[in-house]
């Protein structure tokens, strides 16, 4: 058998709690044994709208926090922005509701084998998977700095517990409603240099990831980013979620961000070619 989707299981997950945090919903679900295979960077695909829903596709969400201890056994925490009809439906589910989910899907953030200096950059709800990642990195002895950005304060997701697992946290808002006025990339060069960053991990809007990629590349640091393309299937069978990735031979391959991602090496993503006709074949 193939190893794609290897640990993915389709299960019924109970909603244990649903709390509003700023403009997001923090949703805790119980998933049992499957947490054993869940890693920061993986995502979950959730059916929305109930039995007779006109929404035929699942919605993808990053795993924000994975826990296999506690009274409910294996649990996953999701940070959901009420964006359109599907995510709004999910945000309206209350304790006891049963969700049809598939997880873990996609690849995970690569974890350095040695203790290095890492910088985690999150945009909006993109910070969700970074706190879980921070814990793992910490456990490996890495230094973990974090910078988060959003248009406005309520769109910053930075839970108190999360802050404990990072060495430093900077917040940027475009409207100056909290933290520094500006964007996460504004002083990125300086931060990389001053803090001797070895690896950047990022998650957020594509434009942010592209900007970080170019800075990381000139600074010569590794950049692992979790991308977010529209996904119809989430399991690699439909080819909707592709991104142009430069191959070693210089050609461009349209790779599926659901199985070859969502975590990708920022330096090989051809950001300028996203959404263009890419005549170079795989």
């Amino acid at each position: 058998m193939s190893t794609i989707n290897r640990y993915a299981q389709q299960i019924s997950a109970h909603v244990l709690s649903n709390k509003r945090v700023g403009q997001y919903h923090q949703i805790l679900i119980s998933v049992g044994e499957v947490v054993k295979h869940c890693r920061p960077g993986n995502f979950i695909a959730i059916s929305v709208g109930g039995e007779n829903s006109g929404m035929v596709l699942r919605r993808a969400f990053a795993l924000s926090r994975v826990s296999d201890r506690g009274e409910f056994g294996g649990t996953l925490e999701l940070i959901v922005a009420p964006h359109g009809s599907g995510s709004r439906w999910l945000c309206s589910q209350t304790e006891g509701a049963v969700l049809d989910v598939i997880t873990p899907l996609g690849d995970a953030f690569g974890i350095p084998t040695e203790p290095v200096n890492t910088l985690l950059i999150g945009g909006g709800y993109g910070s969700a998977p970074l706190f879980g990642l921070a814990e793992v990195l910490k456990a490996r002895g890495c230094r973990v700095d974090m910078i988060l950005g959003a248009s406005s304060s309520p769109k910053i997701y930075a839970p108190l517990e999360g802050k404990r697992s990072v060495n430093s946290l900077k917040i940027y808002t475009e409207d100056a409603s909290s933290g520094i006025h500006g964007r996460v990339t504004d002083s990125l060069e300086e931060i990389i240099e001053n803090d001797s960053i070895d690896v950047i991990y990022s998650c957020g809007p594509m434009a942010m990831l592209a900007a970080i990629s170019s800075i990381a590349q000139s600074a010569g640091v590794v950049h692992q980013c979790a991308v977010e393309e529209s996904m119809a299937c989430g399991i690699g069978v439909c080819m909707t979620c592709v991104l142009p990735i430069r191959q070693e031979d210089g050609s461009i391959a349209m790779l599926r961000s659901c199985i070859d991602g969502p975590v990708m090496d920022g330096s090989v993503v051809e950001w300028d070619r996203v959404g263009k006709v890419n005549e170079v074949a795989e």
Partner: protein
């Protein structure tokens, strides 16, 4: 009473009547984690072309009420890589394989047939003629009886008499029965009904077509009534020609509806995106429904909706 659940599409025999739909199961690998591929009728692979293709620009999909649009643009590795990597892997799984082929010229289809004719382990070719014909102002082959015929004719000649050909038709035509007649006449052993309907979504934020490719193919439960009608019409006109039905099937009831309309097998496409186990679950549900209605074989239910009420007692004897 045991049920004979097997089916045939022309000379090809399958132990069960549920298939994947082309382009909705890639080449099977990704689904193998969710159910054993050999447990369903066959894997119909994503339409393959002669050369590798990058496909259309993203966004490539839009969800629509009870359906979705896609504009993948036949991204794929090209026939060489496909024959070298995908077929052997599927054979190893014990899966039956229907290879879907697509081209931009009549010749390209023939070339694909030539490459595939001696590859072991293939049960049938599905010929996806819903592609723009670059030699005829980009008009989709399946929308023109002459081009449809030319493609099937070319494939039949190249292939010789062995491998069954299933011509996959587009619903975007004035008269699907006349297209079916042409391809059957040109040597198709059966027809696959239906491919997606041409549609468009405009993003009201950007005020531009949402898809990178502007238009896309509409699939999912939304189109099921159109698919059932097409199957019913073609079965009525050509009752001896096997039909592989598809379009919006998401449960056993839907598959049964297509069988009753005249399909000998049913492909599951978009439903797999919502539920990776859709094909195998639909297969069990269908089996239960066909049995519950007292049929002793799947085949005796094929096209049953066409029979007069008073011939109901003829059920067992067919």
């Amino acid at each position: 009473m045991t049920l004979d659940f097997s089916t045939t599409l022309g000379p090809a025999w399958f132990p069960a009547p549920i298939f994947t739909a082309s382009g909705c199961a890639s080449s099977g690998k990704e689904l193998a984690q969710f159910f054993p591929l050999k447990s369903i009728g066959a894997i119909v692979t994503k339409s393959i072309m002669v050369k590798a293709r990058p496909g259309r620009p993203t966004p490539r999909m839009a969800e629509t009420p009870s359906g979705m649009l896609n504009s993948i643009g036949l991204q794929g590795p090209g026939i060489d890589s496909f024959i070298a990597n995908d077929i052997p892997w599927l054979v190893e799984q014990g899966a039956r394989i229907i290879v879907s082929i697509a081209g931009e010229t009549v010749d390209e289809y023939a070339t694909l047939a030539r490459r595939l004719r001696s590859v072991p382990g293939i049960s049938a070719l599905e010929v996806n003629i819903s592609c723009p014909n670059v030699e005829n102002r980009g008009m989709v082959f399946a929308c023109d009886p002459v081009s449809s015929r030319a493609v099937i004719d070319g494939v039949r000649r190249t292939l010789g008499g062995d491998l069954p050909i299933i011509a996959k038709l587009s619903p975007d035509v004035t008269d699907i029965v006349s297209i079916a007649r042409e391809v059957v006449d040109a040597g198709a052993d059966g027809v696959a009904l239906i491919n997606t309907l041409l549609g468009m979504v405009i993003n009201t934020e950007t005020m531009r077509p949402h898809l990178g490719g502007k238009t896309g193919g509409l699939s999912g439960p939304a189109i099921r009534p159109v698919a059932v009608r097409a199957i019913y019409q073609v079965h009525q006109a050509l009752p001896k020609i096997p039909i592989l039905g598809m379009g919006g099937v998401r449960n056993g009831r839907d598959a049964f509806e297509m069988i009753l309309a005249g399909a000998s097998g049913v492909s599951v496409g978009t439903a797999t995106f919502g539920n990776p186990k859709a094909a195998i679950e639909i297969q069990s549900e269908l089996k239960a429904l066909v049995s519950a209605k007292g049929f002793t074989s799947l085949k005796s239910a094929v096209g049953f909706a066409h029979r007069e009420i008073d011939s109901e007692s003829a059920k067992e004897s067919m």
